[in-house]
């Protein structure tokens, strides 16, 4: 055990966990990383490319090395950073990216082959021979890549989302964030304080600083208690604000139960969209390291992380108690780690300070003007080489802390392409002044990392932010704090001939950067892609600036001249599950149910998704073994008796106003204004470019009142288009529009016996052909007083009606029609029979109204009135459109029982099948039980003049073709007598 005294762990709450199958103990408050270190485990994983043994480098979400797989079964989760995985009892964790045991990874051979894996390796190697890519390279890379593995099982947990609004969002609950929250909270502002950690305090938890002369955590506890007591403050721990979006919108993930073995009743994570009037970015800073030879051994870590492990988790990062720890630094900050380690009883070899004028703050050895130039220890650090003026000596150590300076966490400030600005005093990039509007960086994130200055800066940022939105906030009494010494030298890496790692996770070394430079990949963007630097899961949090510094040295330019990297969301990885949200499977999207849905379900109907709608597709009966049997029966029943179909899904728009008729005249290509009250007209809408858009009916209920129907698919779009025309084109017209699609259950009653059936339910309404002819409509009552609307329209070519009742009665009406029509052979039918009926009649539907066809092609050219302007009218008369010779025709295969494939292209017999000889194509096809033959519709060049011609319908995708005869599209009752009788 390598536990020290103190810390923020609960020693009364021991927790059991396993790592690679071996059992260990930790404590409540531990992360997996701190618990492993507490058990003397340094080796936690393997690097991506070379499979080098790796240990933990950091103590927070920036961790590049300690990537593990958590849990088992369906909850197995790869690529989790051990540094942010909260320990819970029963946690099982495994290292990843190795074949065989972690300490003897088979793929470590890659390390020996490293000369072949240099910068640009992927680009250079996998390019040739070309044929190798698909068969060899890609499968090989895929197998090796991705680090951890997926369970391949469905995620058993629930995910949630939500929306929050606040005056002030504070990102980060360290010294600056807490000061900002107290300031804003006391001012009465609505505050959200979010932190990715599970506890408040930020870096205060990891330092030994005193506040008001006492333990800083006492102040954190009192601040927390006060904030919790304020109803206007919402504290969100375990919440990562991962992205900044436009106008003060932030994405955040709350890990609600990641820290529990099983979520139980809770959701696993919640995706929050936070709309904030102002934001204080108090996200702290991330320490960088100093590349030197063989700096990637387990046991080498960031000095600030080492301090965090010692102070917060009471852990010494060595394998065995008594192993010495050394610090390698370019500034004062490294000395703080030495001081804290000594104070907690760890054995410190000394501080190797690159500066000649290195200070000494306590009782430890200082190696001034010295650097670390080598390390030893196969699976964990055993010794380091310290060099001064070319003279080297080896020292035994169990761990080495590296302090290269702190980089403000500028990430969120650069999400809107705000370029961070170089600060020569801090030797770091600070947030851009052109960052997202309303976002104010504060504390270490703004380069003010001293505790005293962070507290003050947080308070001031809150006051400034709130004053911008008219909320007066006062300065608060801040605890007395000190700024620790923070002098540092611009010392970026230790030159040498051996490999010195810059990006640990992606195995990018100083040499790789030099090679990229030699190969002229100098701009940062090229450097990044050529070497894969910063492209791992940590996105280069600990490596980008070091890499930039190395490149600057090679090019002889300054760091800001060399460039900078800006960041995109997300700040840390976000699981696809939480972005996907909660509902999956049938609940994935809302479902619209027709008024007869439950009835159809009880009849055993098969359903089909049509947009959001669930529509009855067909109604199988006992004994029917294929859907075709069912559909054939339904079609024949309609043509011989009476069929019933729920057509509620058609869009219905109520159009009223003094100018309603004129408005519809402009919307539809044909005349609508001259309709008569009590009559319906078929209408064709064009797009403004002249192509056919939608068809439907227009029923005139009163002088100033029309009910318009649209196709199911275009219901929302046509309604939107009508609003556009009304508000953006002709607001002077007196028109009121409102959808009534859902209000009315509409049932098509179709077939020669439809009139007889309806006669049995209407309240004395005269349905005779004279009183209620084809294309008539009326309001009436049925079934003893239920208000209804009746339309005599036909989609099938049969005598047919559509009857509408308030939606709540649709179910009962269908039942009543079935009862009353039992002796007439009343038969419910679904969308399949509906399609067969309309193809038999030659009515265009979605396959023909596909946005590429014109009124002429559809045989509806005469519907584009020349007497008036309407949407699309002018463009429909363009030369090319007017010259269009393709026409909608019917096709019958010469072999009646051979299916014509929709999408087939048409060719003259004996001609080569090329683009230029193409005669048209098949749009819709079905089996017609009426004709006992397959039939089809399609567009054919000069189609109207080619009746009787035999063509080839070619399906080159399947290598099939068949002969079809050109016939009228109206397979049934071409004269239209049936629907008028």
């Amino acid at each position: 055990m390598t536990r020290l005294t103190g810390g923020l762990i609960d020693r009364n709450a021991p927790l059991n966990f396993t790592f690679n199958g071996k059992a260990y103990k930790g404590f409540q408050g531990d992360t997996l990383a701190s618990a492993l270190l507490g058990n003397g485990v340094q080796l936690m994983g393997r690097s991506f490319k070379y499979h080098r043994p790796r240990g933990v480098v950091a103590a927070g979400s920036e961790e590049p090395n300690a990537m593990v797989e958590l849990r088992t079964g369906a909850r197995q989760e790869p690529n989790t950073r051990a540094t942010v995985a909260e320990l819970f009892d029963g946690l099982t964790a495994r290292s990843q990216n190795h074949i065989g045991p972690l300490h003897r990874d088979f793929l470590a051979v890659n390390d020996l082959l490293s000369p072949f894996f240099a910068a640009g390796f992927y680009y250079k190697t996998f390019m040739w021979p070309k044929a190798f890519w698909e068969k060899l390279y890609e499968p090989m890379i895929r197998k090796a890549a991705g680090l951890g593995s997926l369970s391949m099982l469905p995620d058993p947990d629930d995910y949630d989302k939500g929306f929050l609004h606040c005056d002030l969002l504070i990102v980060g609950a360290g010294a600056a964030g807490l000061a900002a929250a107290l300031t804003a909270g006391r001012a009465g502002a609505d505050v959200i304080l979010a932190d990715e950690d599970f506890a408040l305090g930020g870096r205060l938890m990891s330092e030994s600083d005193a506040l008001d002369g006492a333990n800083a955590m006492d102040w954190v506890a009192s601040a927390k208690a006060e904030l919790e007591s304020l109803p206007n403050v919402r504290i969100m721990t375990r919440t990562t604000v991962f992205g900044v979006y436009d106008h003060g919108i932030f994405g955040a993930v709350e890990r609600v139960s990641d820290h529990l073995a099983v979520p139980g009743d809770k959701v696993r994570q919640t995706l929050w969209r936070i709309t904030a009037k102002r934001t204080v970015l108090a996200a702290g800073a991330t320490e960088r390291h100093i590349p030197f030879a063989d700096n990637d051994r387990p046991g080498v870590m960031l000095a600030g992380a080492m301090r965090a492990y010692a102070n917060r988790w009471a852990v010494s990062p060595v394998k065995r108690d008594g192993d010495a720890i050394a610090i390698f630094t370019n500034g004062d900050d490294g000395h703080r780690t030495a001081m804290d380690l000594i104070a907690r009883g760890a054995k410190v070899l000394g501080v190797i300070d690159a500066r000649e004028a290195a200070p000494r703050f306590g009782d430890y050895e200082v190696f001034a003007g010295s650097t670390v130039t080598g390390t030893k220890g196969r699976l964990g650090l055993t010794s380091i080489e310290v060099t001064r003026n070319g003279r080297s000596e080896w020292h035994s150590v169990g761990a080495l802390g590296v302090a290269g300076g702190w980089n403000p966490n500028v990430h969120l400030a650069s999400h809107h392409r705000g370029r961070p600005v170089w600060n020569d005093d801090l030797l770091a990039f600070v947030p851009s002044p052109d960052g997202p509007k309303g976002l104010i960086p504060a504390g270490a994130a703004a380069g003010k990392g001293g505790t005293a200055e962070a507290l003050t800066d947080g308070m001031k940022a809150a006051i400034t932010a709130l004053s911008e939105i008219g909320v007066a906030a006062s300065e608060i009494a801040l605890p007395k704090a000190e700024n620790m010494p923070s002098e540092q030298a611009a010392f970026w890496h230790v030159p040498g001939t051996k490999r010195a790692w810059v990006d640990f996770q992606n195995d990018v070394t100083v040499k790789d950067i030099a090679l990229a430079h030699k190969e002229n990949m100098k701009p940062v963007e090229h450097l990044k892609r050529w070497t894969t630097l910063g492209m791992a899961t940590d996105q280069g949090k600990t490596s980008n600036i070091s890499a930039l510094a190395v490149m600057a040295e090679l090019t002889g330019k300054s760091i800001p001249e060399t460039g900078t990297t800006i960041f995109r969301p997300p700040y840390t990885g976000v699981s696809l599950a939480v972005l996907g949200g909660g509902d999956t499977g049938p609940l994935f999207r809302p479902r619209r149910l027709t008024p007869t849905h439950h009835w159809a379900e009880a009849q055993g109907a098969a359903f089909v998704e049509v947009g959001q709608w669930m529509r009855a597709q067909y109604f199988p009966r006992t004994g029917e073994t294929t859907w075709r049997q069912t559909v054939d029966r339904e079609v024949l029943a309609v043509r011989s008796g009476v069929g019933l179909c729920d057509v509620t899904t058609l869009g219905k728009v109520d159009v009223q106003g003094a100018d309603a008729g004129e408005f519809l005249n402009r919307m539809y290509s044909n005349m609508m204004g001259a309709l008569k009250v009590g009559m319906v007209r078929y209408g064709l809408m064009l797009r403004e470019d002249g192509h056919a858009y939608d068809d439907g009916t227009c029923a005139q209920m009163a002088e100033d009142h029309y009910v318009v129907t649209t196709t199911t698919a275009n219901a929302g779009l046509v309604y939107r288009q009508m609003e556009f025309a009304h508000q953006c084109l002709w607001p002077e017209l007196d028109v009121q529009l409102i959808s009534t699609t859902d209000a009315w259950a509409q049932i098509a009653v179709v077939g020669p016996k439809s009139r007889e059936l309806l006669t049995r339910i209407v309240d004395g309404f005269d349905l005779s052909n004279e009183a209620f002819p084809f294309m008539a409509c009326s309001e009436l009552t049925i079934c003893n007083g239920l208000r209804a609307r009746l339309f005599r329209i036909s989609f099938s070519g049969e005598l047919a009606y559509e009857i509408a009742v308030p939606a709540r009665y649709g179910h009962a009406l269908m039942q009543r029609l079935m009862e009353q029509g039992a002796d007439l052979g009343a038969t419910p039918y679904g969308t399949e029979a509906l399609a067969v009926l309309r193809i038999e009649k030659g009515h265009a539907a979605g396959a023909e109204l596909n946005g590429q066809t014109t009124a002429q092609m559809l045989g509806l050219g005469k519907m584009v009135s020349a007497k008036k302007d309407s949407i699309g009218a002018v463009m429909s008369r363009r030369e090319g459109m007017a010259a269009e010779k393709r026409r909608l025709v019917g096709f019958k295969p010469l072999e009646a029982q051979t299916q014509v494939m929709a999408g087939s292209h048409l060719f003259t017999q004996g001609e080569a099948q090329t683009m230029t000889s193409d005669q048209g194509w098949v749009t819709s096809s079905c089996y017609s039980p009426h004709l006992e033959s397959y039939i089809a519709l399609g567009f054919l060049k000069n189609g109207a003049e080619r009746m009787g011609e035999v063509l080839i319908a070619a399906n080159p995708l399947e290598g099939k073709e068949l002969k079809v005869e050109v016939v009228s599209a109206h397979f049934v009752d071409p004269e239209g007598g049936r629907l008028r009788d």
Binding site: G162, F163, R592, Q656, G657, D734, D742, A743, A807, R808
Partner: protein
């Protein structure tokens, strides 16, 4: 009276109600609805004595209520009038306006809290991107909820109505129920 038997939007013969901790959600199947739109140049009328509310507001008086739905457009609510031709009643009040029957165009779910505003506001945070703090009693709006379009009416601190498309009743109930259930945890 017709001899046909209606079903509710959720498909039942009686309105559904369910308790989720502090929240109770009830299907309001008896609510009569009709839309009222002004014609060009018309003055705002006062159907059933209602002072039709301004942008984003709702009013109620006795069994009648109204909420703003768009420029010159309101939805008029009538408690217990689902079975009568409420649109015709409204039309006779305002013969010069455009009136459209909407009773069965929508389903109204009434959510009531036993613990004041907090549970209502917590529920809103899980469902709609509307700031509950700016959506007090008397406010009404239309917005998106789980890819559905709904009207929200804050009837009181502790009462919220969610009015969605009738054909989406099942999906809307599911969304409300899941969110309310999660607040119980």
């Amino acid at each position: 009276m017709t001899d046909l038997t209606p079903i509710t939007a959720l498909g039942g013969t009686v309105a559904r109600t369910e308790v989720f901790g502090a929240l109770t959600t009830t299907e309001n199947a008896d609510l009569g609805l009709a839309s009222l739109s002004l014609r060009a140049g018309q003055e705002v009328p006062q159907p059933f004595g209602l002072m039709l509310p301004g942008v984003g507001k709702a009013v109620s008086m006795g069994d009648y209520a109204a909420f703003w739905t768009g420029r010159g457009q309101w939805m008029i609510e009538a408690a217990g009038k689902a079975e009568v031709d409420f649109a015709a009643m409204l039309k006779s009040e305002v013969p010069e306006c455009s009136v459209t029957e909407q009773t069965d165009g929508f389903t109204a779910f009434e959510i009531a809290s036993t613990q004041g505003a907090r549970p209502i506001e917590a529920l809103m945070a899980k469902l709609v991107n509307i700031d509950p703090k700016a959506f007090g009693p008397g406010q009404a709006t239309r917005t998106g909820l789980e890819h559905m379009t709904v009207f929200l009416i804050r009837r009181a601190e502790d009462r919220l109505a969610v009015i969605g498309m009738r054909t989406l009743a099942g999906s809307l109930w599911h969304a409300l129920a899941v969110a309310a259930r999660r607040l119980e945890d």
